[in-house]
């Protein structure tokens, strides 16, 4: 591996967090992106870590307001790599991460604006030759260039992984929620802008983007040879009130029924 973790001890851990401008799902106002803010929170919760935030993109007024949301979490400055609004930010991020040489890069799983494909962490990992893990829920320890982390699985389960640093990890909504953004620090913090050549994303210009249409509901197609079955399926009411009702039973009988259901569903451990 060409990039070795420089420091073997935990002290002086160098963490970079990639942040974007989010969009409020209801009001559509620019805001700090939820998953990115969780990534910042996770970075801040690491002991002795030097946290640096990186944003690549345009910086309109709107964007500045949103980015200051991250500064309000208690961060001095954001490294702002200026890019044209239609640019592919991956080359610029690769260059700046090479310069910064962090041991750990945290990102959100996918952006709240633009294509939102969630590819950036994987592209960066491929370009830098670093491993990438998804769904980071907690960093347990970092020792001798190896991080032990918990990965979030569906239904609140966790998996323990060991990953060689430097590495990239994505954070999703199962990570701890981000702290509030405070107004004063958000004003005082600095956006350290730096120009960088932007590479236009040509493919994206050919796309046709429109507000999301509601997806058609899937029809229930009944393929049955007998007319009776087809009729029954078509005329059946939506499943409601189909539940089983146990009245006038002793508590033990009721408990037995509940117990059987729990066992059938496999939720008893």
């Amino acid at each position: 591996m060409q990039h070795d973790a420089k420091s073997s001890s935990h002290a002086g851990l160098n963490v970079a967090v990639l942040v974007t401008v989010g969009r409020h799902p209801v009001t559509a106002r620019a805001r700090r992106a939820d998953q990115d803010a969780r990534a910042v929170e996770m970075a801040l919760s690491l002991n002795d870590a030097a946290v640096r935030l990186v944003h690549a993109g345009g910086n309109g007024d709107d964007n500045e307001e949103a980015l200051r949301g991250y500064l309000g979490m208690g961060i001095g400055e954001i490294n702002l790599i200026k890019q044209a609004s239609s640019a592919d930010v991956v080359p610029a991020l690769v260059t700046s991460l090479r310069d910064m040489a962090p041991q750990l890069v945290l990102t959100g799983t996918r952006a709240e604006t633009g294509e939102g494909s969630g590819l950036v962490p994987y592209l960066l990992a491929e370009a830098l030759g670093w491993p990438v893990i998804s769904g980071l829920a907690q960093v347990e320890s970092i020792e001798q260039g190896v991080a032990t982390v918990l990965q979030a699985l569906p239904r609140g389960k966790r998996r323990r992984l060991r990953v060689r640093l430097p590495a990239i990890a994505t954070v999703d909504s199962s990570a701890p929620a981000a702290r509030q953004s405070a107004f004063g620090p958000a004003r005082r913090g600095e956006l350290a802008a730096r120009a960088c050549a932007s590479v236009p994303d040509e493919l994206q210009e050919q796309w046709h983007v429109q507000p999301a249409r509601k997806r058609p509901k899937r029809l229930k197609i009944v393929k049955s040879a007998s007319a009776r079955d087809r009729f029954k399926a078509a005329a059946a009411k939506a499943d409601s009130g189909s539940g089983q009702l146990l009245s006038d039973v002793s508590p033990e009988q009721g408990a037995e029924a509940i117990f059987n259901l729990l066992k059938e569903e496999g939720v008893l451990r």
């Binding site: 969009r23 633009g114 998996r159 999703d172 983007v209 408990a255 729990l262």
Partner: protein, 427 residues
């Protein structure tokens, strides 16, 4: 039971001979159960005895139910009750191209998402009847699935080995790269699920140097594009639709296409010519971690025991939650009255939960509460009031006093745990 009709000439002879002493019994037997009204005659034709049809109704009149309900009820598991396999067999000998699909196989079986994706793969493969493509499914590790053919798989590549049982994305990508080298599939389709195909597909696309379409939910033919297909994908956290030419690698959402239902495919096993390369993994799987159900956030929890105004014995409730290993939830009243913390409130102004099993103890089922449990799979209600709305929503309702039922449930589960312990000790 085998489907081959076995004929017994002697019995057939008795069935024809109405004067034979065993005539009625044999008729009944040949008729396949209780009704001696239908049997297979000597020439293989179905014979009917109209006098033996029907039943005597409550007022003494003979009734004949032609809807079939009676018959179906009378002959469980008879030959007619079994659905006949009407699927057309399709075998593609020399495919013009391959469509590779990597199903999630969560829990070792094809999920409905996987089946939808295989349906999409079939669309792509069968578009041109002159040049039929084959759908190649690549599955890792051991699985329990037996219906790959029904799901639309022509070629099945099972990548076996200990290395594929855990979470080892780098090894899997190396295997998929070998597939790319040897079989050069025309398209790669993966389910865009959070921790299976979604992750693997992004890794694969980046490794292959292809720009994938993610969150695809619709694919249509379009002669203007390079691949001949156009797709619609969700962008910007699901708030926009992006219409674009379909690339080689597609990560599709659930219900992107109809699953295969009319044909049956060969699911012919194939193998890679070369051994898989050794990969020096930089990510090591240390296995799943046991989590304390109480610490799981409500929105993620799989099993919730939720308390409402009907709970009087709070110590008993907390004890029950602990014994059941359930995450605790509450209705607003329980929260407002100070029995439960605010972050445990389920409902419109609380958390929207998606538990597999939701047990509502003493909750009346106000609309604000029911909204929050819309996506729960199984709901169990424990309540005194038989007419309340929670009972209407519930899959299982037990009418009775909450504390007594919870106590009985705790006792039952402790007994179960003991039995299990004994079994383990005995083994």
């Amino acid at each position: 039971m085998s489907d081959i009709i076995r004929r017994d000439p002697r019995k057939e002879w008795i069935a024809r001979n109405r004067l034979h002493p065993e005539h009625l019994e044999v008729l009944a037997e040949l008729g396949g159960g209780a009704s001696p009204s239908e049997w297979t005659g000597p020439s293989g034709l179905t014979r009917r005895n109209p006098h033996a049809v029907g039943f005597i109704g409550p007022n003494g009149i003979k009734r004949i139910d032609r809807s079939g309900a009676q018959q179906a009820a009378n002959q469980p598991g008879s030959r007619q009750a079994q659905p006949k396999d009407t699927r057309r067999r399709v075998e593609i000998e020399a495919p013009a191209f391959m469509v590779a699909v990597v199903p999630d196989l969560s829990g070792g079986r094809l999920s409905s998402h996987d089946r939808d994706l295989l349906g999409l793969a079939r669309q792509l493969a069968d578009a041109d009847p002159e040049r039929p493509g084959a759908v190649l499914a690549i599955v890792f590790g051991t699985h329990k699935e037996t219906t790959f053919g029904e799901a639309g798989v022509d070629r099945l590549l099972e990548v076996q080995g200990d290395a594929f049982s855990g979470y080892l994305p780098e090894t899997r990508i190396a295997a998929l790269q070998s597939v790319e080298r040897e079989m050069a599939p025309h398209y790669w389709l993966l389910p865009d699920s959070s921790l299976g195909g979604g992750e693997l597909g992004r890794r694969l696309a980046v490794r292959l140097g292809e720009r994938p379409a993610t969150q695809v939910w619709q694919v249509e033919a379009d002669a203007d594009t390079d691949t001949g297909w156009r797709c619609t994908a969700r962008g910007a956290a699901g708030t926009t639709d992006i219409a674009r030419a379909m690339p080689r690698v597609v990560l599709a959402l659930a219900e992107c296409a109809e699953p295969v239902s009319e044909t049956r495919h060969a699911a012919q096993p194939v193998e890679l010519a070369q051994a898989l390369p050794e990969v020096l993994g930089r990510i090591e799987d240390m296995g799943e971690v046991a989590v304390d159900p109480a610490s799981v956030s409500l929105a993620e929890a799989e099993f919730i025991l939720s308390a409402g105004n009907g709970v009087k014995d709070w110590d008993g409730y907390h004890h029950a939650a602990q014994v059941l290993g359930a995450t605790k939830g509450a209705s607003r009243v329980a929260v407002d009255d100070g029995f439960m913390p605010r972050d445990r409130q389920v409902g419109a102004t609380g958390t929207w939960v998606s538990a597999r099993v939701y047990v509502a103890v003493g909750i009346s089922g106000a609309i604000q509460h029911l909204q929050g449990i819309q996506s729960c799979e199984k709901v169990v209600a424990i309540n005194l009031d038989e007419g309340c709305d929670m009972i209407k929503r519930a899959d299982l309702s037990v009418i009775g006093d909450a504390s007594e039922i919870l106590a009985a449930l705790v006792a039952r589960i402790e007994r179960y745990r003991e039995e299990q312990q004994e079994n383990r000790d005995a083994a």
